[in-house]
């Protein structure tokens, strides 16, 4: 049985443990923090921060979105840092095979809030670590735990922002600024949503048709969802609408994949450090600050 950390440990054992704990606080914690910083800096490089670098505006990346099953929707989205600067969407209407094309207005950008939030959370985490330089002396284990908790909170949020797209209702989608981004303006029977899901940039196009007021269909407005399915109904203006077709296309953003891996690795590092500290918990926790 692991009696090593017991209060019944002998004086010699205690001395050794104390020595070990001191080493942990003075050397090991800083080593882990440095490692964490390196990983997170690497992660934050993936999210280029506008105005920060001397390299000028963030570079543009083009992503061709498609789906393996159908080719009814094709999109080319241009990502510039945390913003979508250009978008070209081609939609083949299922009924008459008519080809629709619409693109972003030249003067506008659409901020991808998920990427922005993830980036900001990472830089917050880096900031938390940055002011505990080598010269800083950790005095108690609780101090390290608190710091790790704060860093992990930021990292978890960063990861969750990427893994959990916002669940929007259809009226929210219709009212969103994204629909107003296009030139020529989006036809009234189309809705568009762009979001990040894990490491993928996703574009969904909803085709709508109006429900006749005399329709015998039972009108039930759909709740919030990441992806609405055909048949979802909602009220917009004075009109009742129903989703007739849903087209979803996506494309992997390689650097988002890297970032997610970095998040996971650094979260594990944090947890391991916490575990190391709490091995000694029976020592430090009953000491005065």
């Amino acid at each position: 049985m692991a009696t090593a950390v017991a209060s019944t440990a002998t004086a010699a054992e205690r001395a050794v443990l104390e020595e070990e704990f001191r080493w942990l606080l003075q050397a090991e914690v800083h080593a882990v923090l440095r490692q964490l910083q390196d990983i997170l800096k690497e992660a934050s490089l993936r999210f280029t921060l506008p105005g920060s670098g001397a390299e000028g505006p963030a570079k543009q990346e083009n992503f061709i979105l498609g789906s393996c099953s159908t080719d009814q929707v094709k999109g080319v989205l241009t990502l510039q840092g945390d913003a979508l600067s250009q978008a070209d969407v081609n939609l083949k209407m299922p009924r008459n095979n008519q080809l629709l094309h619409f693109a972003f207005r030249e003067d506008k950008q659409w901020k991808l809030q998920q990427i922005q939030d993830a980036r900001n959370h990472v830089s917050q985490a880096i900031y938390l670590l940055a002011n505990r330089e080598e010269s800083y002396q950790f005095k108690t284990g609780a101090e390290v735990l608190k710091l790790m908790d704060a860093v992990m909170l930021q990292l978890t949020r960063a990861r969750n922002r990427l893994t959990t797209p916002a669940t929007l209702t259809l009226p929210e989608l219709a009212a969103s600024g994204l629909t107003r981004m296009f030139a020529p303006t989006l036809p009234s029977d189309l809705l568009v949503n762009v979001y990040i899901n894990l490491n993928k940039l996703c574009l969904t196009v909803y085709q709508l048709h109006a429900l006749q007021p005399t329709s015998t269909k039972n009108f039930r407005p759909a709740g919030g969802a990441v992806l609405h399915s055909p048949g979802a109904m909602f009220e917009w203006g004075s009109q009742r609408l129903e989703v007739s077709h849903v087209h979803k296309v996506e494309c992997v953003i390689p650097w988002l994949n890297d970032a997610l891996v970095y998040f996971t690795v650094s979260l594990q590092l944090c947890q391991q450090l916490k575990d190391k500290i709490s091995v000694f918990s029976s020592y430090w926790s009953y000491r005065p600050f």
């Binding site: 049985m1 692991a2 009696t3 950390v5 017991a6 209060s7 019944t8 921060l49 506008p50 105005g51 920060s52 913003a83 950008q109 901020k111 809030q113 922005q116 939030d117 900001n120 959370h121 830089s123 900031y127 940055a130 002011n131 505990r132 330089e133 010269s135 800083y136 005095k139 609780a142 101090e143 735990l145 608190k146 908790d149 704060a150 992990m152 909170l153 978890t156 949020r157 990861r159 969750n160 922002r161 893994t163 959990t164 916002a166 894990l198 996971t264 979260l267 594990q268 947890q271 575990d275 709490s278 091995v279 918990s281 029976s282 926790s285 009953y286 005065p288 600050f289």
Partner: protein, 929 residues
């Protein structure tokens, strides 16, 4: 929490940790408010001589506090708003620590500014908030609802902001700096209408400041020209007119700026993350722009800083410091620089009106004026520890008092089980232990039979679970305890025997819980034991065997779910992954992450499992309390939050017969995060006490008003709206009292229309019966009756805590001799419950050094003054009774004693209700009378 709930804190020798994350001084310079990483708020008295003393600790937030700000025009209402990491927001009345309004929104704020424009705005004003979301949120200061946002062309998180009132242009502006270092300016006063009509308001101007991590932005109101922007690596001065850069001061390596303020015209104060601060005079360099017009290429800097003074904290540095500066030009207020540390220390510097450097031009050091911690309060004022364990004479080890590492209160037995650092477990009568901590001449009997010591653990006991209170099917004598060395022992607490020892060989046991009622293994419920090495073990008590040890989890276990049909154990971890274990074979069935994991957890929630806080199944009130520290903070939109790493276990519900008996007395162990320091809170349910005591003194009570009857009513009534209910209730209790007590003075009971009241009571009764029938809530009534003696004792202890000792000697003696209400050892730390599960606890020494003015505000004092008033009336009538038949022989004595106590209590209850009554309701009653 019901308002009739009264709390008394039993503080130990050690102050609870309070790692300050936010600090502010109220405008009247009488109170310092701090928010902590643990989630508690603390109110401190600030005397006119700038002496600090802790006043009360407020338990409200369940996550670290991120910011504090005033929430009203302070001269009218002393309200402060606090925001927490998990999106909770509360408005507090800092004069008494009550929560005025609260809301939980999916936004994490880092700064809040109060804005009110009296001539354009109706209502209480706005709270302008920024934080981990895009742009500026405008909230209603009264309702804490989101009104609208200030939107911008390139939305991003806002790091800091300030409101600029410019006399010159008669327009208020909002200046913010985003995370990317973009300065944005909105018109504030002229956009009030558009915001209220929910129109989009975009920024008027914006400019990239080319630095990151902005810490604060301040406008110089004295010159109306300079703008000070502090970044973590440098600070800059801008010209407000055209936002041209006037000066950049870069910090030394390894030093981080944390904030700044403008002291006076051309004089600024900058503080650092490590607690140092510097006062600079901004001197004109003579290169004015009129001489060297900016040609767009090189901006001529027209000022440079000269260091005048500096301040520093001593050696005890623990990062980071949170600081602030209070600039009051009105006499007799001071200019104060204040800082709060992670260690809980507050430091104040009195900044002279005109800071000057030494004669030789070198900077002068401004000395620390005051410094204080919560522990200082405890050391100074807490002469006698009230902690329950400190009164176990004979059980103290050499080092002094025992450290309690875990405790549980068993309401059905009125026992408090405490596990200690050295592995022993004490079981004691909770009421006696509380009495010995609080009262004079009431030490715990050393050889009392009710005290039991269980010796079996060799390391500190980390968790306890009394099984019968979780599931009534289990033996009343069974208790399990887990220790630091991952050893779990099953005890018979009546015989003090070890029934079985499980050696799990995992980390320290962090929690013990039981499988739900609907989950059975060979007809028995099983124990789930979570260890700090993230392993989960399932123990089968009847079989004395360990069924499963699940050890593959990489992150701390957050949730445990049971799948009765498939016989699965579902473990949710802090990294949002899910592990599914097959209990029968002990194999890992599946491991899922991300979206799928979430779906699995949600599915299991639907499968009719009762979600409960862990091992607690005392009254629902206590459960709510427990959730103070246990509530896992998950903000919906931002995803789950891991900061207060708390285990949330689905344990068996208090199903049907396990329904806890409402108790007038309860002990709530409170543990703080990241530390072992804990204390206990005694909860007295005044309403319940009165209810229990009322029928007992009279033998020929009407059965309808007997205990069980009133119990049914009480249950049903809790469904009726609360406010109306309370009034009716207290009137009812009052009128019934009228009939019963003879010694009641005629004058002091408010005259009341009995007929309409009785009518409404009857009406209500019928309604209730109907309700009872329709909703099949036929809970089998608990068969136990509360011991009358225990109830009387509880009442006595409660009265001891409230009576104004030392005011009237004669009265004191009367209480001690005839009523056997014992005197307090020292001032008691009363708790004040505010809305639902929020409460504030007085700190030791809260009563000292308080000015008269505060006495008027503090409701606790008001409360005891009422008691004083009533008791003097009571004493006036008492001699008559004594002069009557010399009936103070034994039987009569105890009867009249309890009669008096009941009477006093019901008066208290009435007063409490009256004081608590919302104003409008009070008016209504006046009219009806």
């Amino acid at each position: 929490m019901r308002t009739s709930m009264q709390a008394v804190a039993l503080w130990g020798k050690k102050a609870p940790p309070h790692s300050i994350t936010a600090i502010m001084i109220t405008e009247d310079q009488q109170t310092i408010v701090t928010g902590s990483q643990e989630g508690q708020l603390c109110l401190w008295n600030l005397s006119p001589e700038l002496k600090i003393s802790g006043k009360e600790l407020i338990f409200g937030h369940s996550a670290p506090v991120t910011c504090l700000a005033r929430a009203r025009d302070f001269s009218k209402q002393p309200y402060v708003v606090s925001a927490a990491e998990n999106g909770e927001m509360c408005v507090w009345n800092v004069s008494n620590g009550q929560c005025v309004e609260k809301a939980t929104l999916p936004y994490r704020h880092t700064e809040v500014c109060y804005y009110h424009c009296s001539f354009r705005m109706t209502g209480e004003g706005w709270l302008l908030c920024c934080g981990e979301y895009q742009d500026i949120l405008v909230m209603d200061a009264k309702t804490l609802s989101v009104i609208h946002t200030f939107t911008s062309q390139s939305p991003d998180w806002i790091k800091c902001m300030c409101i600029v009132h410019s006399m010159r242009i008669q327009e208020d502006s909002l200046l913010v700096v985003s995370v990317t270092g973009e300065l944005k300016v909105w018109d504030l006063s002229s956009s009030i209408n558009s915001i209220q009509e929910k129109q989009d308001v975009y920024e008027k101007e914006s400019k990239f400041l080319e630095s990151l991590n902005c810490q604060s932005i301040r406008f110089c109101t004295y010159t109306e020209r300079l703008l000070l922007v502090v970044f973590s690596k440098c600070w800059k001065v801008y010209d407000y007119c055209d936002f041209s850069l006037l000066w950049t001061e870069v910090g030394r390596n390894g030093q981080f700026f944390a904030g700044g303020e403008v002291l006076a015209a051309h004089r600024i104060l900058i503080w650092m993350e490590d607690g140092h601060s510097y006062i600079y005079q901004l001197l004109n360099s003579g290169l004015s722009k009129s001489i060297y017009p900016a040609d767009g290429k090189a901006l001529k800097e027209t000022i440079y800083p000269h260091l005048l003074c500096s301040t520093s904290v001593g050696e005890n540095k623990s990062l980071p410091f949170v600081m602030g500066y209070m600039n009051e030009r009105k006499e007799p207020f001071y200019k104060v620089l204040f800082s709060g540390e992670v260690s809980g220390r507050i430091t104040l510097w009195h900044i002279p009106d005109v800071p000057v450097s030494k004669f030789d031009g070198s900077p002068r050091e401004i000395p620390i004026t005051t410094t204080w911690t919560l522990q200082d309060n405890f050391d100074k004022h807490q002469m006698v520890s009230q902690s329950i364990m400190d009164h176990f004479s004979g059980f103290k080890d050499e080092a002094g008092s025992m450290v309690v590492t875990s405790s549980e209160y068993v309401p059905s037995l009125d026992k408090l089980i405490c596990g200690c650092e050295n592995g022993t477990i004490f079981i004691t009568q909770a009421l006696n232990a509380a009495k010995s901590g609080l009262l004079e001449g009431c030490s715990l009997l050393k050889d009392s039979l009710s005290n039991k010591v269980l010796k079996g653990h060799h390391q500190s006991v980390t968790s306890l679970l009394y099984l019968h209170s979780v599931s009534s099917k289990l033996d009343q004598s069974w208790m399990v305890s887990g220790d630091q060395g991952s050893c779990v022992i099953l005890w018979d607490i009546f015989t003090e025997e070890i029934l079985h020892t499980f050696s799990l060989e995992a980390g320290p046991v962090t929690s013990l819980s039981m499988s739900p009622e609907n989950f059975r293994f060979r007809d028995d419920q099983i124990i789930c034991c979570v260890c700090s090495d993230h392993s989960v073990s399932l123990l089968h008590l009847e079989g004395r065997s360990c069924l499963l040890q699940a050890r593959k989890h990489l992150f701390p276990v957050r949730t445990i779910r049971w799948h009765p049909v498939e016989n699965f154990l579902i473990v949710g971890c802090a990294d949002d992954s899910v592990y599914i274990w097959e209990i029968e074979t002990g194999t890992l069935e599946r491991h899922e992450t991300g979206e799928r994991a979430r779906i699995i957890l949600n599915c299991c929630e639907d499968s009719k499992l009762l979600k409960l806080e862990p091992v607690l199944s005392v009254t629902s009130e206590a459960n709510k309390h427990k959730s103070l520290e246990q509530k896992s903070s998950s903000s919906h939109q931002l995803g789950s939050v891991s900061c207060p790493v708390v285990l949330q276990v689905d344990s068996p519900g208090k199903v049907t017969d396990a329904k806890p008996f409402p108790r007038p007395f309860n002990v709530l162990p409170v543990k703080t995060k990241w530390s072992s320091i804990g204390f206990h809170v005694l909860l007295f349910d005044l309403e319940n006490l009165v209810e229990l005591l009322l029928p007992t003194p009279l033998s020929d009570v009407d059965p309808s008003s007997s205990f069980y009857g009133s119990e049914i009513l009480r249950r049903a009534k809790s469904t009726v709206e609360k406010t109306t209910l309370t009034i009716k209730r207290n009137k009812a209790s009052c009128s019934s009292l009228q009939a019963e007590t003879q010694a009641k003075p005629k004058g002091d009971c408010p005259p009341q229309g009995d007929h309409p009241l009785k009518f409404s009571e009857e009406n209500d009764g019928i309604k209730r019966q109907k309700k009872m029938k329709s909703s099949k809530k036929t809970n089998p009534k608990p068969s136990r009756r509360v011991d009358v003696n225990v109830t009387i004792d509880t009442a006595k202890l409660f009265l001891s805590c409230l009576l104004p000792w030392g005011v009237d000697k004669e009265f004191d003696n009367l209480c001690i001799r005839h009523l056997h209400i014992l005197k307090l050892q020292g001032p008691v730390s009363v708790g004040l419950a505010t809305s639902e599960d929020y409460f504030s606890l007085m700190l030791p020494g809260w009563d000292l050094g308080s000015s008269e003015m505060k006495k008027e505000h503090s409701r606790v004092n008001l409360f005891s003054r009422k008691v004083l008033d009533l008791s003097s009336k009571y004493t006036a009538t008492l001699p008559n009774q004594v002069a009557a038949p010399r009936g103070w022989d034994n039987n009569d004595d105890s009867l009249s004693e309890s009669n008096t106590i009941v009477y006093l209590l019901s008066r208290l209850f009435l007063v409490n209700k009256l004081v608590d009554m919302p104003f409008e309701l009070a008016c209504e009653i006046d009219r009806s009378i």
